[in-house]
């Protein structure tokens, strides 16, 4: 392995300075569960790794009136172990509690999952349906990018060479909001999503009508896909099995999967149909009270 410098940055400025110095040959390090494995496998080589876990803004998890701020270096377990966060952000908790296993979750971050930009990343769809935006810092200061326009290609994002993600803002969900994320893997753990579907719905006061909906798909395109037509097909209609099935059909058309070692095009489209239906059912269930809590625990896969 090519020798590299390790810098534990204590501030945003320090981190940005190191990134600037090395350009494309430096990268931020959060939990390291992606980047260390990639370095060891020889996917690329670096001259410097900038550990951002010591950057205060990146390590904060804050639930405020305007929403939730997830520091880019906050490991998954801190999210699902917080009962208030769990109650308000069910879709994100679904993802945080199924990335890897317990050991991985104690290191892996949502920020790293997002910046790694794998088409199969489990947290990006949930962030999208929760309307999240990420704050980036660079030499010119900070800027905020909606998560649904953050990824540009497999492993590529809008991040500049000398930028880092500081935190992810997730707005406070409105009343009668529910979200869910489910993925399909052939095994029961330690696997990569063959397909993942995240859904969020807001019901009207009566609970009989869908006021708004968002659907995002993982592993069926080069970046997470926002299934806007499928979501639109639900708006104004009842949260019924027929509507969910129809939305699943539309979502399957919006997907653009490929054949690879993890699944075929045909199987992936089938799975989009099924998972769209299933996650819509869960999201609506959560939106209508009863089991609105997102804290489904680690049993949800």
């Amino acid at each position: 392995m090519h020798p590299f410098r390790y810098v534990a940055a204590g501030s945003i400025d320090e981190a940005v300075a190191v990134l600037r110095e090395h350009g494309a040959r430096a990268r931020p390090l959060a939990g390291g569960t992606d980047i260390l494995a990639q370095l060891r496998a020889g996917r690329f080589e670096l001259d410097a790794l900038v550990d951002v876990k010591g950057v205060p803004e990146a390590s904060a998890l804050r639930l405020g009136r305007d929403g939730l701020d997830i520091g880019a270096a906050v490991p998954c377990y801190r999210i699902y172990e917080d009962p208030d966060v769990s109650a308000a952000y069910p879709g994100i908790v679904d993802a945080a509690s199924l990335i890897g296993g317990i050991q991985i979750q104690s290191r892996a971050t949502i920020g790293g999952n997002l910046c790694n930009a794998a088409p199969s990343a489990d947290s990006i769809g949930p962030l999208i349906v929760h309307a999240a935006a990420v704050t980036l810092a660079g030499p010119a200061g900070t800027r905020t990018v909606p998560v649904d326009s953050f990824c540009t290609a497999p492993g590529r994002t809008v991040l500049g060479e000398d930028e880092l993600a500081v935190s992810i803002h997730v707005p406070r969900p409105p009343a009668r909001f529910g979200a869910a994320y489910e993925r399909f893997i052939p095994r029961n753990e330690m696997d990569i999503a063959v397909v993942g579907v995240a859904c969020a719905v807001v019901l009207d006061r009566s609970g009989e009508r869908i006021e708004s909906a968002r659907i995002a798909l993982a592993s069926v395109g080069p970046t997470p896909i926002v299934a806007a037509k499928a979501a639109a097909s639900l708006v104004g209609g009842p949260p019924s099995a027929d509507a969910f099935r129809a939305a699943g059909e539309v979502a399957a058309d919006e997907a653009s999967p490929i054949d690879d070692m993890r699944g075929t095009i045909g199987h992936r489209r089938d799975l989009v149909r099924v998972l769209t239906r299933r996650t819509l059912e869960r999201a609506v269930q959560r939106a209508s009270g009863g089991t609105a809590s997102g804290n489904t625990g680690r049993g949800t896969r």
Binding site: M1, H2, E189, D191, V194, G266, H267
Partner: protein, 773 residues
Amino acid sequence: MTSKTGSKKSESKKTGAERKFRVVGTRPIRHDGWDKVLGRAVFGADIKLPGLVHGAVLRSPYAHARIVKIDLSKAEAAPGVLAVMTGADMPIAASKVLDLGEEVTNAVFASDRVMARTKAVYKGHPVAAVAAVDHNVALEALRLIEVSYEVLPHVVTIEQAMAPGAPLVHDDLVGSDIGERVEHTNVADHIRYEVGDPEAAFAEAATIVELECRVSRAHQGYIEPQNATALWHQDGKLTVWTSTQGSFSQRNSLSSVLMMPASSIKVVPMEIGGGFGGKIGIYLEPLAAILSRKCGHPVKLVMERRDVFDATGPGPGGIIRVKMGVDAHGVITAATADIRYGAGAYPGASINPAAVCVFACYRVPNARIDAYDVVINLSKTAAYRAPGSPQASFATETVVDEICRRIGMDPAEFRLLNATRGGDRRTDGPTFPRIGNVETVEAIRGSAHYRAKLGRASSPTKKRGRGMASGYWQGIGNKSTVTINVNNDGVVSLIEGSADIGGTRTSIAMQAAEILGIAAEDVHPAVVDTDSIGYTDLTAGSRTTYATGAAAIQAAEQVVEEMKKRAALVWETDEANVRFADGVFTNGAAKNQHLTFKELCGKLDTTGGHVSTTGVVNIRGSGGGSFATHLVDVEVDTDTGKVEILRYTAAQDAGKAVHPAYVEGQMEGGAVQGIGWALNEEYVVGDDGVMQNATFLDYRMPTSLDVPMIDTIIVEVPNERHPFGVRGIGETCIVPPMPAISNALRDALGVRLTELPMKPGRIMAALQAQAGP
């Protein structure tokens, strides 16, 4: 036929006359347990030696490529680099068959596999290696080696390799077509077994079923990657520390590949982190040896997981067509098999054992078996648990299940009607001695699982099914040596050459303890190097507890004989008067003269000195082999194709279970590996001939969350060829799971899956084909 009842987890079914045992059949804690649990056991990668340096191997990125030129100059000049080697440094091995017990190869191929000379014939084929002051320097030096390749067209499937005009893996391979010499071919061997007149019998059969099955190559998936450390001594001798299933077979291979006398090589077997047949051949050892010779230091090489998948031997994939006919009563009258295995880049897929096992569970009066050993541009396959049997048996057992469905016969009844018994002819020729085939079927039929209802599926989109399958592995006997040194304190040291990959230290120590009448804990087993014990064949072929156990029994019996003489001296009586039973020596000619084994040990120094004995065995054959029958319940999500294993019961004949927990462990482990092979494990090879899923993330072995507790029923039909009736049991257990699961899926879904793995996408495709367009 009587039905047995009351089966439960690890119930033991005793059959036949039994000797009364004191130690055998109990469950002592394994001798190496503490060190393994506390991380103190020393594995190959843990080795530290004075002056140790580290190596790395440059491997071909292509499945098939001529090596035009290798420029080492930059690597050799790099600071910290101590030695660089290529195929030109390898001696030219003489053609010689290397029979490694479960693996047969030629020294020329074994040598070429270790490092390419003129062309790379599989992705990951070593082309050069470096030794350097540390691992990173070695890795960086690899990048300085310039290799120019001429990429050649490759063949990675059996169809590609057998197609007319196919690119040749080896230009000079001479194949054999039922004894006829064939040149310019990728079919290294075609063998045939024939008995009776299958065509005539098929013409008369009431029902005939024929299926063509496809099986992916599957890796053993041992946790510990291959590793080797070598020191080429100044006097021309060589010491190799390695993770191997057989230190002596390893020494033989090294002797043939390095062209040096076996007696000049000492192989030190380290603790081994799993083998399952994959750690029989040599890979890194000759490279470490040559690098050591060049740089004068001990050199350590350790594979990365990617290399393990790319460049070591998984079990072969294959295409197997089986046709079977039965008469109006369901009695098998004829069967044929066409078995084609992809050997990898060198000949030697386990086609002969495949032919032995394919119909071994059934009486087949008219049979023909054709088997083909086909070379392809993937790493040479190796033994993998019952090598050759699972792939072929997958076809047989699914065909049997289809016949049962066609004729409406219960699969257990069909097996009991057709099962081979002692005295029957195995299709490939030999006559079975006493075997436990019928008994395993009866054990399953009598199990609680068999009688339990399947129950309703957990949701409307899910369906449940149940499947049964049987399997066989013949096993081997061969050579083993055990030395016993009796200590004055009553504890004996047991010195052996059998690598311990499944608890055999303990199962062999227990057999000695049984004879000596002492506790298993009072036998201290040690696995030693090739200079320190007599020749011992490898730990494979289900032979170790059986054959090395027999050597231990022999050594222990010699101890007893010698100790009787000592007792006679103590009691000043005739040796013939001394009796030994249950660990106590008794003077038959006097009243109340007893000495326990331990007490007599304290008197050895005054009666002639220490006692040391050696048992040497060379046993022909295994005594009939081990049969198994498995039963599985599955639940399939028809929306996604995902399969859950709900319940699993394995029954197997152990002859006599020396340490029942280890027998159960083998049965469970084999079932779990089989579940992996059945559902998700496969080599996904791209058009470029490169395996795409060479990580444990994407080579989907089951995790603990993917399998239920495996229920086991140990059947004990004594092996006539072992003093305690022991049979080797480590391998048969991987044979039934794949067909049992296919049969269960057939039951659940009404579709027949004939291709492994039966992964979710394949199940969905089968369901959609069934539903029609």
